[in-house]
């Protein structure tokens, strides 16, 4: 990838990431997050990891962000006005953020994290090499993830399921009988 292009995309993603944190309107924050994710997707594509880039655009930029927008709109969050919370919360919050940043810096700054760039191996970033790895070397992790997602789907259905009228009547009967027994 061209260096100038990299700096441009890096600037876009950092500025929009700051926008996520600093803006007051939650919808504006979310749209900034979409810009961040799309900029990172373009970076992936520029580095030759085309499949990962497009999957990021489809999954994060498209589907998941839309679900987030739904949640925010249906919960009807207003514009956050002014600082909220106790002064102690702010104090300890700032401390925690500083500690976190220091920890991240200790990991990220050289010489701990040297850029190890092996160059493009054959078939780098193509869907063939990705699926070869996914279905041979990382098969167990892949299958465990799919089971986890299945559990999440079933859990969501169980939570969202409406109780039918007969079940409500049954529950009312039970509690009435229990109340009688107690008296």
């Amino acid at each position: 990838m061209h260096t100038a292009l990299f700096w441009f995309l890096a600037a876009v993603s950092v500025i929009s990431a700051l926008g996520v944190v600093l803006q007051r309107n939650p919808v504006h924050c979310l749209l900034s997050l979409i810009v961040t994710l799309l900029a990172i997707a373009v970076m992936f594509i520029g580095e030759g990891a085309i499949v990962v880039g497009f999957l990021q655009a489809i999954v994060y930029g498209g589907a998941i962000m839309v679900l987030f927008l739904f949640v925010i709109w249906l919960l009807n969050l207003g514009v956050e006005i002014g600082p909220t919370g106790h002064i102690a919360l702010k104090f300890f919050g700032t401390l925690a953020v500083a500690a976190m940043t220091a920890e991240l810096m200790a990991f990220m700054l050289p010489p701990h994290l040297e850029v190890k760039y092996a160059g493009h191996v054959a078939g780098y970033g193509s869907i063939d090499s990705l699926s070869q790895k996914l279905f041979s070397e990382y098969l167990v992790a892949f299958e465990v993830t799919s089971v986890l997602l299945l559990v999440a789907v079933i859990g969501a259905v169980a939570l969202a399921r409406r109780t039918s009228a007969s079940e409500i009547a049954q529950n009312a009967d039970d509690s009435a009988r229990r109340a009688q027994g107690a008296s």
């Binding site: 749209l31 085309i50 497009f54 962000m65 839309v66 927008l69 193509s126």
Partner: protein, 396 residues
Amino acid sequence: MRTLVQTLLASGFFGRNTPYDLVAAIAVFVLSAAVFLGVAFPFAGIVSWVERRVWARIQSRVGPNRVGPNGFLQWLADGVKHVCKEDIVPTDADPVLFKMAPYLVVLAFVLPWAVMPFSSALILADLNVGILYMTAVTAITVVGVLMAGWASNDKWSLIGGIRSAAQIVSYEIPAGLSIFPVVLMTGTLSMQGIIRAQGWAPQHWFLFANPFTFVAANILFISALAEGNRTPFDLPEAESELVAGFATEYSGMRYLFFFMAEWGNLFIIGAIIATLFLGGWQFPRVSNNPVVMNVLELITFNVKVLFLVFVSMWVRGTLPRVRIDQLMTLCWKYFVPIAFANMIGTAIWVAIWPEGNPVAGYIMFAAGIVVAIVFIRRVVFYAKRSQMELYYYPTI
């Protein structure tokens, strides 16, 4: 693209020391401008006129026939009218998002043209993940539509936007799953690769390759209509309930952008189906001249796409709008399970016949012809029995 730039540099037209990147950038700008201004936008305009004429015929009306021959210039008149109108931003709207939303929708309409395989040579970029790219960039529409609905700060717009998002996100799943059978059979995601894996004759198309791909093609077409907010799935802009849905507060050029993208998306829907299932630009090799072959392939591809565009107009003129619960039932209870079954079925088929089964192609094609004949006979039978008056003049 790369060869074109190298040819340009070698021709010496740009001078000796011109950097490669500059020429490449100019070539990309000129070519994309040519595609959008010369193909995409006029297509969206002309289709709006064709569609109104076709509906009018289906509903025994005349349709727009005043501007130009047979009303052909109606789309230009509409465009000029919209450009001249005032661009109103409501006081309570979120001004930045309100102004930005139509551009996002148009962006999602122009980006797919980069991988549109018009012929064996005419393609801007033959990405090796072409069909995945199509899916990724058309997903941007939903952000634009939701943004328009929310930023208008109006209940009709918000309901329209949320309906549209729910619909598009749901129907992306069967649409995506219906692409996989073809990918399983070819082992590539590139548009040109998928077309090259098929032949010019119908029995070599993936539509007739096996029963699963036939079902997948139909699911993909219906899901694409739903994603494009077309009748019978045009709930987001249901005029009788929501004024104009997410576009209620828009006026002038911004309003036009939404509808230009909607009509232009018809071509993209048709192109995806034609590429995946109808053999794309494949044409019998009648000449060794590459120019002649490319022109013939361009015509073939466009005929297939325009036929599909006509079918979607036909559907729109015929079927009433579905309810929102029917829409969701159709997607989640029927299309998603059938699409999964298709995928598994195709995987088994490919495991048994890795090179494809030529006999199945002929049988499926014959079955398709039988279905078409039965359909035409029924239409003729009812047309005769109801003693309707048929007018055969296409131009009034």
